[in-house]
């Protein structure tokens, strides 16, 4: 019992939580001071916008995609409730559910073509959907009441209970906000939350550790639509009319402003933002038409001065003024991160006649190579010879124009990047792809995403601490120890020296339990002693059955390490053999040093 009390006390004192708790108490006391129905209504609308923004945080904050359709989902939710309750007299238990379901269906429908697009296209497409819905609402008069909309929406009734004006609807709205906040907290934490962070901050890295970033975005988009639909239903029951105004861009702008001002990933940010933005016109009532200009100024000022919003700013100040001891490092939990190939016979990786060109430039010109299980294979060649393109073709970031790639006998060519990663190919990047703000430990731990069944539902259902995340971090600790970099586990990845970052990337790749490891210039930034150390560790992994393909310019590092080597030049494979053969090959020497004629000239 004592331990529970202590842990709760500890929780309530850490971070900016004392402020949160104070805020929640104030928020709960506020309604008791209200004297007019108007004040209650404003407070109810604050709750509705908080809910809308909580939903918007999923797609805009956590998935990092600028959706401009949150206001549309809200309007659709409001219209569904309006139409069903006015025209068909349905009760809240149906209208609310359908107000959630229809935006959800709409989101599912539009997400398919839109979500894989670059961010600017995503914004445009979502905007277009909004304009279409607005036009439909205005012109489908029989159903929607046209430009005048529908009036006479009754108060909310749920299973015969009425939640009318004043405290009734206010209580329902704020209970929904509390539930929404709980859902948001549960979903965006732990291993799933970490996967969201890496997908947002560095999509290529997320794909390289087997995370289906499109699926995460999809889930976030659907969640945001559901929240918006619920907020729309409550809105219709609160203001009792629904008109095309509910679908206009102004709602979207208010939602965006709330989320940016409050903080795009903080639950408290949605509530604080809603309090400020909804009350702004009330506080600046004297300004009449001009208060909307203040929206614009607030949005601009926040995006420039505090991109993580007011709550983010508070947290920054807290971290500066009252720095906290980092949490204790998790114990290392051993696991076998070097898997042997399934079939011992035959090559592990086989590349057959791969061609890849960019416009007129031939980056790969009919390359064939094989790498055996447990083999360390060196790939060399002058800059621009196609080495990294080769890696990108193997890992599915580029699609080869022709040819095939087999992993352990399975054709992986044309498979999507994250699927290839899941099937056992891990990689590092020439220009490091770590999430700079995340700790080293978390950067590595997130690679365990595919192993612990970390999904949205599992994360939601887990207790106060996500066990999958705990295991992932313990496993990550073990890999970091295996590479001799456990001492920096708690540092932010961005704060590390170049060579250390490379090792952390190797650790992350190994946490994927790969059968084939692709390293793009792993020795860059390491001094001689560190290079020897890294070579020793790589050899040990290879003895365990791991195949390693190394791209490297550093011959003193690579020559003693590699069993076989190949040299690319302008997209052609010009030599393959043992390091000694490569060293003596005149074509290789010419590729690196230029032909003798050129030198004389």
């Amino acid at each position: 019992m004592n331990a529970v009390v202590r842990s709760v006390m500890g929780w309530s004192r850490s971070g900016i939580r004392p402020l949160f708790i104070l805020g929640i108490i104030l928020l709960a006391l506020w309604p008791t001071l209200m004297t007019s129905a108007y004040q209650m209504r404003i407070f109810t609308i604050v709750g509705i916008y908080a809910l809308l923004s909580l939903g918007y945080q999923f797609i805009f904050g956590h998935a990092g995609a600028l959706s401009l359709t949150q206001g549309t989902f809200f309007g659709v939710g409001a219209y569904v409730t309006g139409i069903l309750s006015v025209r068909y007299g349905l009760g809240g238990e149906f209208t609310v559910l359908l107000s959630i379901a229809l935006p959800l269906a709409l989101a599912a429908l539009i997400a398919a073509p839109v979500l894989r697009l670059e961010s600017h296209y995503f914004a445009l497409a979502t905007l277009g959907v909004g304009q279409v819905m607005l036009l439909v609402a205005i012109s489908w008069q029989d159903l929607t009441g046209g430009a005048n909309g529908l009036s006479g929406i009754p108060g909310l009734t749920l299973f015969g209970l009425e939640f009318g004006k004043g405290y009734g609807i206010m209580a329902v709205v704020w209970v929904c906000v509390a539930m929404g906040a709980f859902v948001s907290w549960r979903i965006t934490r732990g291993l799933y939350g970490a996967a969201l962070v890496i997908s947002r901050e560095n999509r290529i890295a997320a794909l390289s550790i087997g995370i289906d970033t499109a699926q995460l975005r999809y889930a976030m988009f659907l969640l945001s639509a559901m929240f918006a639909g619920l907020a729309g239903a409550l809105y219709a029951h609160t203001i009792r009319v629904v008109s095309p105004e509910a679908l206009e861009f102004a709602i979207m702008v208010a939602c965006l402003t709330i989320t940016v001002v409050g903080g795009r990933t903080h639950i408290a940010g949605a509530i604080l933002g809603a309090i400020l933005i909804v009350n702004l016109p009330e506080w600046f009532r004297a300004m009449e038409k001009y208060y909307l200009i203040a929206y614009g100024i607030a949005l601009l000022a926040m995006i420039v001065a505090a991109p993580y919003g007011l709550i983010g700013l508070l947290e920054q100040w807290r971290a500066k003024l009252l720095p906290e001891k980092p949490p204790a490092m998790p114990p290392a939990e051993p696991f076998i991160f070097v898997r042997a190939a399934r079939s011992a016979a035959g090559p592990l990786l086989e590349i057959r006649d791969v061609h890849k060109h960019f416009g007129g430039l031939k980056a790969l010109n009919g390359i064939s190579l094989t790498v055996a299980p447990g083999q360390i294979f060196g790939l060399i060649g002058p800059n621009g010879s196609g080495k990294t393109t080769m890696l990108n073709v193997i890992t599915g970031i580029y699609r080869a124009d022709s040819g095939s790639v087999y992993l352990d006998g399975t054709d992986i060519h044309n498979k999507r990047s994250f699927v290839i990663a899941q099937s056992g190919i891990a990689r590092t990047f020439q220009n490091i792809n770590l999430v700079e703000e995340m700790s080293v430990l978390d950067n590595v731990a997130v690679a365990r995403y595919g192993f612990d069944n970390a999904g949205l539902v599992q994360t939601f259902a887990a207790g106060r601490i996500d066990p999958a995340w705990k295991r992932a971090r313990s496993n990550a600790m073990y890999v970091l120890e295996g590479l001799g970099v456990a001492t920096v586990a708690q540092s932010a990845a961005g704060s590390l020296a170049y060579g250390l970052k490379r090792k952390v990337e190797i650790a992350r790749a190994l946490a994927l339990e790969p059968r084939l490891l692709l390293l793009d210039e792993p020795a860059a930034g390491l001094n001689e002693g560190e290079q020897l150390d890294l070579a020793d560790r790589l050899r040990a992994f290879a003895r365990g059955g791991l195949a390693i393909l190394v791209i490297e310019h550093n011959m003193p590092f690579l020559m003693p390490l590699a069993e076989r080597m190949a040299c690319l030049d302008y997209g052609d494979l010009i030599a393959e053999g043992t390091p000694a053969e490569i060293r003596a090959n005149p074509l290789v020497i010419e590729a690196y040093l230029g032909s003798p004629e050129e030198k004389r000239a």
Binding site: L117, L124, A125, V136, I138, F249, Y290, L299, L300, V304
Partner: protein, 303 residues
């Protein structure tokens, strides 16, 4: 009949082309979407109305003034919306331009109110009769002005020293900086240029279609669609895209006039609403099947 419709489509397309060109210029220079670009059109319309009521001059004479004012506005715009955020992800600029768009819209609303206003005509409201068809003077004027401006823009960009610097900045900012180009100045200039083109479009559109403070959203979507159709970042593509949209917008609702049976078969299909919806659906289809645009070549980002 068909010729008249085509003339109207061409006029609308010419105005859209100015708008889309400015949008792409800013996009290429900064890598960010200027969401307030439609609001710049709206602002241009109101500037024309304000000046027209004071100076009592036709639009053709107001045009240089409007262009100058809007260029200045573009400069100021870049100080607020772009430069404080130039080292942040492009989405920050997207949001800051949304914010400035809100400020523009509501300033216009505070000054002029929400009721539609009509801008001054370029020359007169009359029609020209040519070989049995009548073409509005305004439509003809728009086409002429747009061609002049597009040619001027093309010459500025491709035949002048400053144009070379502008293009260098858009192509590779770091490299441009390394060879001594004042990159920030070039970007501010691009904003001025884009804003000026949008303002010219605003002057001309505000006469034909009137103007309200909230029209900007609609216009920026048009620019956006034109650029998507023409290929993200392509100047000539943007012009083609603008013409295609305008042709569709004008031609589609008037199809029943050209082919009377259509009026009986599907009267609901050939409304303004339905054509707008079809335009968006077409846009989604293009983004899904040909994200590089109708004319562009596939571009792959380097990893």
């Amino acid at each position: 009949m068909l010729l008249q419709i085509l003339a109207n489509a061409l006029a609308l397309g010419a105005a859209y082309a100015l708008l889309a060109l400015g949008f792409v210029l800013i996009l290429n220079a900064t890598g960010a979407v200027n969401f307030a670009h439609g609001d710049m059109v709206m602002a241009g319309g109101y500037v024309a109305i304000a000046m027209g009521s004071v100076l009592q001059l036709p639009g053709a004479l107001l045009l240089p003034l409007v262009v100058a004012v809007m260029a200045l506005l573009g400069f100021v715009f870049s100080w607020f919306a772009y430069f404080p955020l130039k080292n942040r992800p492009p989405v920050s600029v997207f949001i800051s331009t949304i914010a400035l768009g809100i400020i523009f819209q509501n300033s216009a609303n505070a000054i002029y109110g929400a009721a539609p206003r009509k801008g001054p005509p370029l020359l007169s409201e009359g029609n020209f009769g040519m070989g049995g068809i009548t073409i509005g003077a305004q439509a003809l004027g728009i086409v002429v002005v747009a061609i002049v401006l597009i040619v001027a823009q093309h010459l500025l960009l491709n035949r002048s020293g400053i144009g070379r610097k502008l293009r260098a900045t858009a192509q590779d900012r770091e490299m441009a900086e390394a060879v001594g180009i004042r990159v920030n100045r070039m970007i501010a200039l691009t904003f001025a240029l884009g804003s000026a083109l949008a303002g010219a479009a605003g002057l001309m559109l505000s006469n034909t279609f009137f103007i309200t403070p909230t029209d900007g959203t609609n216009y920026v979507i048009k620019a956006y669609i034109a650029v998507t159709i023409g290929g993200w970042g392509s100047l000539s593509g943007a012009v083609c895209g603008a013409l295609i949209i305008a042709l569709f917008e004008v031609l589609f609702p008037s199809l029943p006039l050209l082919i009377p049976p259509l009026k009986i078969i599907a009267p609901w299909l050939f409304t303004q609403t339905a054509s707008t919806i079809l335009l968006y659906v077409g846009l989604l289809a293009i983004m899904f099947f040909r994200p590089q645009g109708l004319f562009g070549e596939t571009v792959q980002r380097r990893v």
